[in-house]
């Protein structure tokens, strides 16, 4: 069986590259269709969930949280660096000084997806295994020089059948070099399974961003095997 020959290599690759990004790999960001971005930086993500920012690229945004659970904990640890208790204290301080409101807090992935789908500007997080019908998935990326580049054309990467059959998936992290015109010039694999990385890189090279003043660098994460 050809699977038996390549399996150890694939598993080893997944373990080496997947270990340091396991938390990010458990969570994916979703947004209402009205949110006019496809990629959100960790800085903006933090600002949105701490109610320091209520719009991105001209789109109104508002956070939606889960009440508890591993996805909730993973999100807080990875992107807000706060415990649930600390975050609740933070929101209460906003509420009782008039500086913010308590965000929507829901009990399950399904409730988050349903609420985000029907609520203008809503941004939430769910487990990677959750279906995301009716909402858009946001890539989380870092754009250098504080310059945000709007993604105009996005091509989804193919999922190699061999890995799909073996249920080998995970998150692939890429660093992109985007020209002033908006073309992706270079792609560098930062983490994740190398075979999935190749597939992701070939798709990302076809992405087109809005024109900018100069060449910029961005980091994006793509998930394979979310269903």
């Amino acid at each position: 069986m050809k699977y038996r020959k390549i399996l150890p290599v694939l598993v080893a690759g997944s373990m080496i590259f997947g270990a340091t990004h396991s938390l990010a790999g458990d969570v994916k960001m979703i947004a209402n269709a009205s949110v006019n971005v496809d990629i959100i930086s960790p800085v903006d993500l933090r600002a949105v969930f701490l109610e320091e920012k209520s719009s991105i690229d001209g789109s109104h945004v508002g956070p939606v949280l889960e009440k508890d659970g591993p996805v909730h904990e993973a999100f807080l640890q990875e992107y807000l660096a706060r415990s649930d208790d600390d975050l609740q204290e933070y929101y209460r301080a906003l509420v009782f000084t008039g500086r913010g409101s308590m965000p929507k807090i829901l009990g399950s992935d399904a409730e988050v997806v349903a609420y985000v789908a029907r609520t203008r500007g809503a941004i939430g997080y769910v487990s990677n295994a959750t279906g995301t019908e009716g909402v858009k998935t946001l890539a989380i990326g870092v754009v250098n020089n504080n310059v945000e580049r709007r993604l105009l054309t996005r091509i989804e990467p193919g999922y190699p059948d061999t890995l799909k059959d073996l249920r080998i998936g995970g998150t692939v992290r890429l660093r992109l070099s985007i020209s002033a015109k908006g073309n992706v010039e270079q792609v560098e694999l930062l983490g994740g399974n190398p075979i999935l990385g190749e597939s992701a890189a070939s798709a990302v090279k076809k992405w087109v961003y809005a024109a900018g003043r100069s060449r910029t660098i961005a980091e994006v994460s793509l998930r394979f095997g979310d269903n």
Binding site: E52, S54, D85, R92, F96, T97, G98, S101, N146
Partner: protein, 411 residues
């Protein structure tokens, strides 16, 4: 605790508990959020009476509660208001006040505006000092956050400009607030009560207040440092007997600021379940008192270091050391009848407080705290700091130990 207070707290607990999370409703298709809180404390001291309570016999005159409503009218525009009421010994006396009521418009994350009655940003906890449920301690360090003088910094009628800016090259982020407005103290607050011991009865107390706060979320994860500045121009009006001519009887009383400012420096570090806070505040006040016949110069310096640790979701412990000193000199007619207070080694001019606290979260909305204070000094004169002559007519003891038990809930 009198029957009225007990009934109120019990009613709040009974009404609030079952329906706590569901306090949102719609008006004209806009979501409106309603939130509230209440706390009830008990204080026992072994020697001096504290915080205008008869604490030496054990006192439950330590109640506060608040209720707010807010709504987002547009994506950038929010409105809201909160009513607050308290009774602390002889202070507050259940006279409700509009705690804050404001319009908040955020143009960008780096530029927003708040107008109306706005909570004052000064150091880590000035704006949240009433919100007992946010922290482990039953009483914040009194050297920097004297609860009897909360009115002096709690809010201003005016406006704030605020925002936050991420810094490049991973240098963290800066948040700023600049404010200007009018401060108006309740006549049931600590300073008017302090003056009443001299036969002076204040009818109005307040004036211009302006300042700024700058805080830096540093690249070191969990470390925040900041600085605040406050300037004031305060006037008090009332009536009283002049100590220079008591035969004249009761006449008008007037005092005003010549210089009145505070500087505050602070830092906070959180690492997992551990939180460490430290602040230093210097408050300087030069006034003209007794109808411009005398000068009064007060220098208050306070600092503390506190640490808290969350053992588990329902149990936290904390401790702090708080150090307060005050000096006072006078000029004009008052200099002839008053003694300068310049030696901060005297217990009358300092208050050093060692504190240990345990907090139990009975559920997500309801907590119970037990706190011990071990104080040296009483800092009673010539500026109020918790210990008042009216409650200690027999004189002060140099040391005071206090037990504080407090419970609170919020929704």
């Amino acid at each position: 605790m009198d029957r009225r207070t007990a009934g109120l707290v019990l009613a709040c607990l009974c009404i609030g508990q079952p329906s706590l999370p569901a306090q949102d409703f719609k008006i004209f298709d806009r979501d409106v959020q309603v939130h509230g809180f209440a706390s009830q404390g008990f204080v026992y001291t072994d020697t001096n009476n504290w915080l205008t309570m008869n604490s030496n016999q054990g006192s439950g005159a330590f109640t506060d509660f608040g209720l707010n409503a807010s709504s987002s009218l547009t994506d950038k525009l929010r409105v809201g208001a909160q009513v607050y009421d308290r009774n602390l010994g002889k202070l507050g006396q259940y006279h409700p006040s509009l705690d804050w009521a404001m319009v908040d418009y955020r143009f960008k994350s780096w530029l927003g505006f708040r107008g109306g009655k706005v909570k004052t940003t000064l150091g880590l906890f000035t704006d949240t000092q009433d919100l007992d449920f946010l922290r482990v301690f039953a009483l914040l360090p009194q050297s920097v956050y004297p609860t009897d003088l909360r009115d002096s910094t709690i809010a201003h009628l005016g406006g704030d400009i605020y925002g936050s800016v991420p810094l490049r090259r991973g240098l963290g982020g800066i948040a700023y607030t600049a404010f200007v407005g009018h401060r108006s103290d309740s006549i049931y607050s600590g300073y008017p009560y302090f003056l009443s011991q001299f036969g002076i009865h204040i009818r109005s107390f307040g004036g211009l207040q302006y300042g700024a706060d700058l805080r830096w979320n540093t690249p070191l994860k969990g470390l925040l440092i900041g600085v605040s500045r406050l300037n004031e121009d305060i006037t008090a009006k009332g009536s009283g007997v002049s100590p220079f001519n008591p035969q004249a009887g009761i006449g008008p009383y007037f005092e005003s600021s010549k210089a009145d400012w505070a500087n505050q420096f602070y830092g906070e570090y959180t690492h997992g379940r551990l939180r460490i806070d430290s602040e230093y505040r210097r408050y300087w006040r030069a006034q003209e008192v007794f109808n411009n016949t005398s000068g009064n110069f007060t220098d208050v310096r306070g600092w503390y270091v506190s640490g808290t640790y969350r053992v588990c979701k329902w149990l936290q412990f904390g401790s702090y050391y708080s150090r307060y000193t005050v000096t006072n000199t006078t000029s004009g007619l008052l200099a002839a009848i008053s003694t300068p207070a310049t030696d901060t080694n005297l217990p009358a001019n300092h208050d050093y407080d060692k504190v240990i606290t345990g907090r139990v979260n009975l559920n997500r909305f309801w907590n119970l705290k037990i706190e011990g204070h071990f104080m040296n000094g009483y800092g009673s004169a010539p500026y109020p700091n918790g210990f008042y002559t009216q409650e200690n007519p027999q004189g002060f003891q140099p040391n005071t130990n206090a037990l504080v038990v407090k419970t609170g809930f919020n929704f």
